[in-house]
């Protein structure tokens, strides 16, 4: 009797939570392809005109977001992968401290970091005006995810022993890194990369503060359309965003097991701020 009561409450809660999370997504997708949302999709019919209009109005924000995401990925690969390797290779108090500092941008609201960047570099003319300014924010915010994903794989393959094996066969530091470490951490790099691109495309908190009228990203454009465009266009724009992000999320589901504590489903200890 007790058991069935508990179970009924659980089933009910599951249905409610699922509906709560899924229904708004469906509403948004529907609204993006409805001729007139007031009349409803059944009465007014289905159209792609709003999606076309979004492309005409906001294509530059979509392209800039892609550009920044790719640049963020390149930077986190170049900075994060070697750093993760070193932090794994030399476990010490200093390494722990560096890891803590690198992870701090997740514990501090993006608004505060953006403010700090604006105060320090706001007067740096060209840099302030360029998309590189947004890139810096995205790199700070996504680096910990790349580093943790790679460190999780390094720990799981016992990289230190593999490297000792290579060293015993005469391989120097660079050879060990290129021949033995890199090929064996590809899954972690892949998972970290998917995470970085996903987060970069969706980042709003930092970007809203750092952008200029000439450097609007997709989420900035979304905020813009929510405030000033008709519901169908805002929905169509959101639809475009979903289309960009869902393949990445599916990829993350597949490779997510390598993310360990850094993954969306892992018991990550630090915050991230939508």
């Amino acid at each position: 009797m007790q058991a069935t009561l508990l179970r009924s409450v659980q089933v009910l809660a599951t249905i409610l939570v699922t509906a709560f999370l899924v229904v708004p997504m469906v509403l948004s997708l529907m609204a993006g392809v409805t001729v007139n949302y007031f009349q409803g999709i059944l009465r007014s019919g289905v159209t792609l005109q709003w999606v076309a209009e979004v492309w005409a109005l906001y294509a530059d924000t979509i392209l800039l977001s892609l550009k920044i995401a790719i640049a963020t990925l390149a930077a986190t690969l170049a900075i994060g992968v070697p750093a993760a390797y070193v932090l794994n290779r030399h476990p010490s108090r200093l390494s722990r401290a560096i890891e803590e500092i690198v992870t701090l941008p997740l514990a501090i609201p993006g608004l505060a970091i953006a403010l700090a960047l604006l105060i320090s570099y706001g007067s740096a003319g060209e840099f302030r005006k360029s998309w590189a300014f947004i890139l810096v924010g995205h790199v700070l915010y996504t680096l910990p995810f790349m580093i943790r994903a790679v460190m999780a794989v390094l720990a799981s393959i016992d990289a230190r022993t593999l490297e000792e094996g290579a060293a015993s066969l005469g391989a120097g530091p660079l050879q060990r890194f290129l021949h033995v470490i890199l090929p064996n951490i590809v899954p972690g790099i892949l998972a970290g990369s998917l995470m970085v691109v996903t987060l970069s495309i969706g980042e709003f908190n930092l970007t809203w503060m750092l952008h200029t009228p000439l450097t609007k990203t997709l989420p900035v454009g979304l905020a813009d359309s929510y405030a000033s465009m008709r519901l169908e266009i805002a929905s169509a724009y959101t639809l475009v965003f979903f289309l960009m992000i869902v393949p990445l999320l599916v990829g993350l589901q597949i490779f997510g097991s390598f993310l360990g504590g850094a993954g969306p489903s892992g018991s990550s200890r630090k915050g991230k701020h939508p």
Binding site: T14, M25, L87, P109, A112, Q253, G271
Partner: protein, 272 residues
């Protein structure tokens, strides 16, 4: 320096430069600029003396705390069920429930509007049922709904993962000793999930404290702390006050996460 050490130093150099130049130094400057207010006073004293700042701090804490409690309660109920049952479409359901994790706050705000805004689903349903439209998107309630929207997936998945790792023999042992389902839940399962609940709960709290996009989309007059910081900085150009409030906000979120980590880490050690 051996060649291996030199190699390691070279590899970690880019990280060091980026973090120092674009994070540590700017944060230090933010901190330095946060003390003296525009009119020559001490900002932190002004915060304590200004009701608007204090009430927004209080409102933010309340919304974040409510988000955390409701999210934990719902996610534990649902998470335990999902961790233990196998049904067709289970992995698809889990995948779909993950999606909101990657939505920016502005999108979540828009989804709340679609749900509970002036043209929202809930408004339509209540109008048909009672003749009166129920609209709550553009208020603290709407904000809370938005925060639940992006907190539940993260906490839920953490709890599912933790519950899947639970040894079923523990529960079987407790039942063999005569414990009923509620006792098993309170004496065995919840204590075992405590570290995961603490960690993900603190994460939900910190995220709700610092979230900006959702409030920004819903209404400009929702006075949560991030909105106040934004207003101080952009509309009032009060940089010192924006900096001071950011430091306060950053300290609260950092502290919440640090305490949760300490507590969950300690309990993990005690259990092991």
């Amino acid at each position: 320096m051996t060649s291996a050490t030199r190699f390691s130093v070279i590899l970690i150099l880019p990280l060091t430069i980026v973090v120092v130049a674009f994070f540590l130094l700017p944060m230090a400057e933010l901190f330095a600029r946060s003390f003296v207010s525009r009119n020559g006073g001490i900002t932190y004293a002004e915060i304590l003396a200004t009701p608007r700042y204090l009430s927004s701090l209080g409102a933010t804490l309340i919304v974040a705390a409510l988000t955390t409690v409701i999210t934990l309660a719902l996610s534990t109920l649902v998470g335990l069920l999902l961790a233990r049952s196998r049904f067709p479409g289970r992995s698809l359901l889990l995948a779909v429930l993950t999606f909101p994790l990657a939505f920016p706050g502005v999108v979540v705000g828009f989804l709340v509007i679609l749900l509970a805004g002036r043209q929202g689903l809930i408004g339509e349903v209540t109008r048909l049922a009672t003749g009166e439209k129920l609209v709550f998107a553009y208020s603290m309630t709407g904000l809370l709904v938005g925060y639940l929207y992006f907190s539940i997936p993260r906490v839920l998945l953490t709890i599912v993962a933790a519950a899947e790792k639970l040894d079923p023999a523990l529960e079987e042992a407790a039942r063999s000793l005569g414990a009923g389902p509620w006792r098993v839940l309170s004496d065995i399962i919840l204590p075992a999930l405590r570290p995961a609940m603490l960690a993900s709960g603190a994460l939900a709290f910190a995220t709700a404290m610092g979230a900006f996009g959702t409030a920004f989309t819903l209404a400009t007059n929702i006075d949560v702390l991030p909105m106040v910081i934004y207003t101080e900085f952009t509309l009032n150009a009060n940089i010192a006050m924006a900096a001071a409030l950011s430091i306060v906000l950053g300290l609260i979120t950092w502290l919440a996460l640090a305490i949760a980590r300490q507590a969950s880490g300690a309990s993990v050690a005690a259990a092991g």
